[in-house]
């Protein structure tokens, strides 16, 4: 086989929806078990107290990356048979900054707010209400905003292509970067929490 199962087995629309539902259940369950259904667990990273968010996120990225690049290497799932995200650097940079602001102000990101709501958190439900409002505003302003969303297109460009390096070097680099971050944040946590204990 070569390519995602949905193409190899040519899933119909209903199958596609049911598979997405099942993946979503696994996704939501994992986020909940990770502690991401509570805003205080999520916000702690931005005060140096608990870098759980970074540990989970970088470990997830490394795990999925190693899997993807291995399956590409052995020819089971060629990278370009899946939906590689396109780069629009400016809207992604600006959107990231605003989403980060929304994260620290609201306490969640879109996925975790769904889990928080499902755990009974009123603040998460209000965040979801806000998400709907923000999305509605974007959609209503579509004529003006869609061109901004599509500005500075670079197409499907991967890090190693951009830097003109071998993919194996970048994959290894990402693994080392993640490990370096884990070591560094452990030290930051120790410093911050020792400082708090002394107060």
């Amino acid at each position: 086989m070569s390519g995602p199962l949905s193409q190899v087995l040519s899933f119909d629309h209903t199958t596609e929806l049911l598979v997405a539902l099942a993946v979503g259940v696994g996704f939501g369950f994992t986020l909940e078990r990770a502690g991401f259904g509570r805003a205080d667990n999520l916000a702690a990273i931005f005060y140096g107290r608990d870098f759980r968010v970074m540990r989970v996120m970088f470990t997830a990225i490394v795990t999925a990356m190693l899997g993807l690049y291995f399956l590409d290497l052995v020819g089971i799932l060629p990278l370009y048979s899946i939906g590689i995200l396109e780069t629009f650097w400016l809207p992604q940079l600006v959107g990231g900054l605003i989403l980060g602001a929304g994260f620290i102000i609201g306490g969640y990101c879109p996925g975790t707010s769904l889990v928080g709501s499902a755990s009974g958190k009123v603040d998460a439900m209000l965040f979801v209400l806000g998400l709907f409002g923000g999305s509605l505003a974007f959609v209503l302003g579509g004529s003006t905003l869609v061109p901004l969303q599509n500005a500075t297109p670079m197409g499907r460009v991967l890090l190693h292509e951009f830097f003109g390096m071998s993919s194996s070097v970048v994959v290894l680099g990402v693994v080392l970067f993640a490990i370096g971050c884990f070591v560094a944040v452990g030290k930051i946590e120790a410093l911050v929490n020792r400082g708090r204990a002394e107060q």
């Binding site: 929806l17 997405a20 939501g28 369950f29 989970v56 795990t63 650097w89 603040d123 806000g130 409002g133």
Partner: protein, 172 residues
């Protein structure tokens, strides 16, 4: 933090599990994870119900329209429904489903509610601008090594760290 209901998975275990969920999604569907796209479709579906003509003429909505099909009949919407179900299963099976407002010790409930809505509005708008959120861009595109997703991820951390001092009373 000692009560049993507050015990979470080890973060590295949770990270491997989350990575495997994403990898499964790639292998089975050819797509990664996502959440904010469901909000966009819900908003677009509401607009389309109110005014089909406006929806047809609006590029943010018309690009998603498949003739004879609801805007909600899409994988990303079903995934979001699954996330809610999976989150509820996780909370209920650990007996930590509780209706409450999560906030730091130095902020009132009403202020926390206002900030939650404001943060949601900003995030909803931003996720559309960036064509994805922490799930759809940072985790999915991060694992693919997509350039824009890495730009996005560093920007999210930058935006949040940049503002953290100003809203510290909400959390610490």
């Amino acid at each position: 933090m000692s009560e049993p209901e507050r015990i979470w998975w080890n973060p590295y275990v949770a990270g491997v599990a989350l990575g495997l969920v994403a990898l499964t999604s790639f292998v089975v569907t050819g797509r990664g994870l996502g959440a904010s796209g469901a909000m966009k479709r819900t908003a677009a579906a509401a607009v389309r119900t109110a005014s089909p003509t406006f929806a047809d003429e609006n590029p943010a909505i018309s690009s998603m329209i498949v003739p004879g099909q609801s805007l909600l009949s899409d994988w990303i919407v079903f995934m979001a429904v699954g996330v809610v179900a999976g989150g509820a299963i996780g909370a209920v099976t650990r007996r930590r489903f509780r209706v409450e407002t999560v906030r730091g010790p130095r902020i009132g409930v009403e202020s926390r509610w206002v900030l939650a809505v404001v943060g949601g509005v900003l995030s909803g708008f931003a996720a559309q601008l960036a064509k994805g959120c922490t799930s759809g861009q940072a985790v999915t595109g991060g694992a693919q090594l997509a350039l824009g997703s890495w730009i996005f991820m560093f920007s999210v951390f930058g935006g949040a760290y940049g503002l953290a001092w100003f809203v510290r009373k909400q959390w610490v």
